[in-house]
């Protein structure tokens, strides 16, 4: 589990939780630059906790987070976002009372993203034409799928160095889930380093380069997506078989 030379983000023996509830018990993982990594695990394994701790929304009890080799463990979420570490949170967390355009503008809060905001808006509208058609519509009035598109688009507006997704397909219809994975694959083609936390194991493994499986707050399996797909233990982690 050593950080390879190309590790854009390294999570080291991270421990964390809520109040006195410890959820992470020393989780470690590396994101290779330009690659899509997926993090699997059953409910309650600690995936969301890991993302929140990496972002700084939860304090790390022990261990650390290295971003391009720099220790960023103690930075707050907005400072991490400034650095280019961006999370597309679970449940979309849109600014529901603001328009699509305004949501995108808020996405472009990091200083390095502001100058090129106009172009970035055009880019995401190319990626998500539906959003472009409805740019002045309030985010709260969009359908579930459109909201998920907007959440991703908003994350892209930050010009992320690393983009993390938390359960993007939650609540989406099967057809739209496929759509979503198409988009993720498109982004992968653009060379953004990404971390994907997903419940749809099959699709995640199909689209990813690397994969980790989290159990009881620790990484229990890791390898390339292809390797992990072959492992029967994955089934056990989910279904207890």
């Amino acid at each position: 589990m050593t950080a390879g030379p190309a590790a854009a983000l390294a999570v080291r023996d991270l421990e964390s939780g809520y109040g006195e509830v410890q959820i992470l018990w020393g989780a470690s993982l590396d994101l290779a630059a330009g690659k899509l990594t997926t993090l699997l695990g059953s409910n309650g394994a600690g995936k969301t906790t890991l993302l929140r701790t990496v972002m700084g929304a939860l304090p790390a009890w022990k261990g650390g987070v290295l971003f391009d080799g720099r220790d960023v463990t103690k930075l707050s979420p907005h400072e991490k976002a400034q650095l280019g570490l961006v999370l597309v949170p679970e449940g979309r967390q849109l600014f529901s009372t603001m328009t699509i355009l305004e949501n995108l503008e808020m996405g472009a809060t990091p200083t390095h993203a502001r100058a090129t905001m106009r172009e970035a808006v055009n880019q995401v509208f190319t990626l998500f034409p539906r959003l472009g058609e409805r740019r002045t519509q309030l985010a709260g009035t969009l359908s579930g799928g459109e909201q998920q598109m907007l959440a991703i688009a908003r994350g892209l507006m930050a010009k992320p160095r690393i983009l993390m997704f938390d359960e993007p397909s939650l609540g989406l219809s099967p057809i739209f889930t496929l759509n979503l994975f198409e988009i993720i694959r498109k982004l992968k083609g653009e060379g953004i380093t990404m971390l994907l936390v997903e419940q749809n194991v099959q699709l995640s493994l199909a689209v990813s380069d690397d994969a980790y499986v989290l159990e009881h707050g620790k990484v229990s399996l890791q390898g390339t997506a292809k390797q992990v797909r072959e492992m029967p233990e994955v089934r056990r982690a989910y279904l207890g078989l």
């Binding site: 509830v21 959820i23 059953s42 409910n43 694959r185 749809n200 099959q202 279904l239 207890g240 078989l241």
Partner: protein
Amino acid sequence: MILQVDAVTVRFGGLVACDAATFAVEEGEILGLIGPNGAGKTTLFNAINGVHRPRSGRIVFRREEITGLRPFQVARRGVARAYQVVRPLNDLSVIANVTVGACFGRENLSLGAARTVAEEVLASLGLADKAEVPAGKLNVAQKKRLELGRALAARPALLLADEVLAGLNPQEVSAMLAVFRSLRERGVTVIMIEHLMHAVMNVCDRVVVLDYGKKIAEGSPQVVSSDPKVVEAYLGDPKAAQRFLEEAT
């Protein structure tokens, strides 16, 4: 049959959280309620104990329809609930927390009698020495036990246990499972929502699987866990993934 859930539908705005869910619970059994995130399990618990009023359907408890009753009315008929995210009454002592459970439930005990029950329950859960500590000061495992203790102190006929194992380490999990087995011996009926599949396999007599608010499978743990529909609900459709991969190349 202690509980009959008959075509229960719960909606929040446009979202259908429970979609005509139907199942029955036998007296004395431990029923596992499983399914992926967002499948509507907790919503179903809320419908059973009166927190949410179902849009349609009927819930019958011991031959009495309890659909639409208020939570305290359901509780007084003998249904207790342990929450997924523990909800101790933080500023009250541990013993007071459990006494609350004993006081107002089915037996409607006096304060003194309730306290005696509470002491027994705490002893059985190994929390006796923490009786006077404010509940907020317990650690997680203790809080989880307290959560269960408060529910058990009501001496319920039916216990709704929502992920009481989440966040426990393996030793704590097996200790908790022992508690459930002893409940079965005492004839308490339990519905447990659980993600720890090996625990479900271990203690549940029967399993009901929900996905997108619908029941997709029902049966013994072994049968259910190898049901392709269940596997797909949990892991995603392998064929879709395969197609996806093929398209890409």
